[in-house]
Amino acid sequence: MALSIVAAMSAYGANITLNGAGASFPAPVYQVWTYAYTQITPDVKVNYQSLGSGAGINQIKAGTIDFGGTDNPLTLEEQDEANLVQFPMLTGGVVLIVNLPELKNKELKLDQKTLSDIFLGNIKVWNDPSIAALNPEVKLSNTKITVVRRSDSSGTTFIFTDYLSKISPEWKEKVGTGASVAWPVGIGGQKNPGVCNNVSKIRGSIGYTEYTYAVEAKLKCVTLKNKAGKFVAPTPKTFSASAADADWENAKGYYMVLTDTEGENSWPITGITYILIKKDAPDKEKQQALYKYFNWCLTSGANSASKLNYVPLPMNLVEKVQNDVLK
């Protein structure tokens, strides 16, 4: 009986299924896109699983999926070696989230030194003098700081550790940049939602995650000091300010890291999230369907992306990608 159900369903199934997996950074938008696209093109079904950038890279290399999502960009050499093509899809911001009931959203201010000290484990309580000095109007309690970081291989981690390496020589020497590093302190959560969950459950915790998750989960964000010396709050405006002067002409293989950018209003931890596809896939029909889907995402999908607090790519970059890759 079960077999007949399956058979009947298969008769109504889609002709082409595109499977994607990878970064949890853009997952909220990707999943809205896959759903909407499947609705409007009934013979193509798209599916995206949020597994983490590392898993996405792994699986597109192994060929178990059709496209991978990652915020941990591959260099042109790595792309050629794995026979992959990479192109940017969205811009988003990595924000710090805290669980301090006495504070309001975006009220806590941290600068480069305090941020890196917290994640290095040098600062252990919230009412440490260096934090209090930056936040004179707020009364901080003597709660222990619990750092929450990613336990899986993550592009969000890559972006964040890249920033930490840029602002703190101690971090760069002790830990370094990477999708998965040897964290000096902190408990691990799986993917962005895992970090958010842990932060929301542990009083006095601080973690890093993508902005949309923080907004939708109603977690409190932190205001950071950027390179220009101004304290900026994380908003789509500050993300786009950071991405505004990105030099895409010289980005080989579209490899670009947007942390610690210049600019008065730049958010210091902005990231680009990418798509990886196989260069010469044997299934031409699938390849064409993939290109059509991504073209749709880059153009018609921009609206839903902004609604979810991401920053879509600027028009000229979209055209460049369309001409370069999606032909």
Binding site: A2, I5, V6, M9, S10, Y12, G13, A14, T17, N19, S24, P28, Q31, V32, T34, Y35, T38, K45, N47, Q49, S50, A62, G63, T64, I65, Q190, K191, N192, P193, G194, C196, N197, S200, Y213, E216, A217, L219, L308
Partner: protein, 312 residues
């Protein structure tokens, strides 16, 4: 004569002469106070009541949590709409329900025939033989293998060669977990059928095969069904193997053999822990409630149908 400074060994300690003279300190005859022993007994009884309450209470607490968090979410839409990404209204768990149904049925189809055949061997032919001993031993051991290892195993032998996650691989993983379970319960059930039945059949000239299939198995069919249902109930809640094999998908499980398939345990994991949004948490609790209810109902049903099972 025993000198004062001699010590005497008794089972309860060494005694000097002086201690032996005094009835209160002579361990050989000193009596434990009855009141003390009664008091100790009462204390342990109290502690045992406390611990039973703790245990049953703890489990009931878990059950109540699931019920209270999940009951508000379940309605008709929840049960009939497929799962949708966050932000899109009318999300449900229907595709996961069907996916779990297909995967567990697939596991049953794959594991039950060989398991019953194996159980028949153990109970009819292999009761006292060395091979039977070894196989029984292996089955008991296999029942205790962590499910995450099974997931790993199936990942290597199915997912990687096939190049894709699939509900079928999930069914294979669950079948591996179910196989020793059903085999052992089959053996136990068939063993409960009285010998006289078999001997009568054999006396009438039936072959062993016909005896087993037509007479013995038919006599034990309630028990066999119980075993299968219990196995199904057990594997329908397994998450770890499905994480490595069937993954998850937001669409109806139409490509069971070639695409990731929606299923309940992974949905619960995804919604409850891989999502920071309150609505998804609530949906996760609803799904958890459904699966708990299904498992409990199957177990209660089998206990009612086969009451004497507990006598073991």
């Amino acid at each position: 004569m025993v000198f004062k400074y001699h010590k005497r060994e008794t089972r309860r300690g060494t005694l000097t002469q002086m201690q032996m003279n005094n009835p209160k300190t002579d361990l050989r005859t000193k009596r434990r106070s009855l009141r003390f022993r009664k008091w100790k007994d009462k204390l342990v009884r109290l502690f045992s009541i406390f611990s039973i309450t703790l245990v049953v209470g703890g489990m009931a607490w878990i059950l109540l949590t699931v019920i209270s968090h999940g009951v508000g979410v379940i309605d008709f839409k929840f049960l009939t709409q497929p799962s949708k990404p966050y932000g899109i209204p009318d999300s449900g768990i229907a595709n996961a329900l069907i996916g779990t149904l297909l995967i567990t049925l697939g596991a049953a189809v794959l594991s039950v025939p060989p398991a019953i055949a194996g159980g028949i061997y153990l109970s009819e032919f292999g009761k006292y033989s060395k091979i039977g001993h070894f196989i029984r031993f292996s089955a008991n051991v296999m029942m205790g293998i962590p499910s995450v290892i099974v997931g790993l195993f199936v990942y290597i032998i199915l997912v990687v060669p096939m190049g894709t996650f699939s509900g079928f691989a999930g069914a294979v993983a669950l079948a591996i977990i179910m196989f020793p379970l059903v085999m052992r319960t089959t053996e136990d059930m068939l063993g409960m059928v009285p010998y006289t039945l078999r001997e009568s059949a054999l006396a009438l000239g039936m072959t062993r095969a016909r005896t087993t299939i037509c007479i013995v198995a038919r006599a034990a069919k309630n028990g066999l069904l119980t075993g299968i249902l219990l196995g199904l109930a057990r594997v329908s809640g397994e998450t770890a193997p499905l994480l490595f094999t069937a993954l998850f998908s937001d669409s109806w499980p139409t490509e069971f053999f070639s695409q990731p398939t929606a299923n309940m345990p992974v949905l619960i994991t995804e919604y409850a822990t891989n999502s920071p949004f309150e609505e998804m948490h609530a949906a996760g609790w609803g799904a958890a409630l459904i699966i708990t209810l299904v498992v409990l109902l199957i177990n209660i049903f089998t206990r009612i149908v086969f009451r004497t099972r507990h006598a073991k």
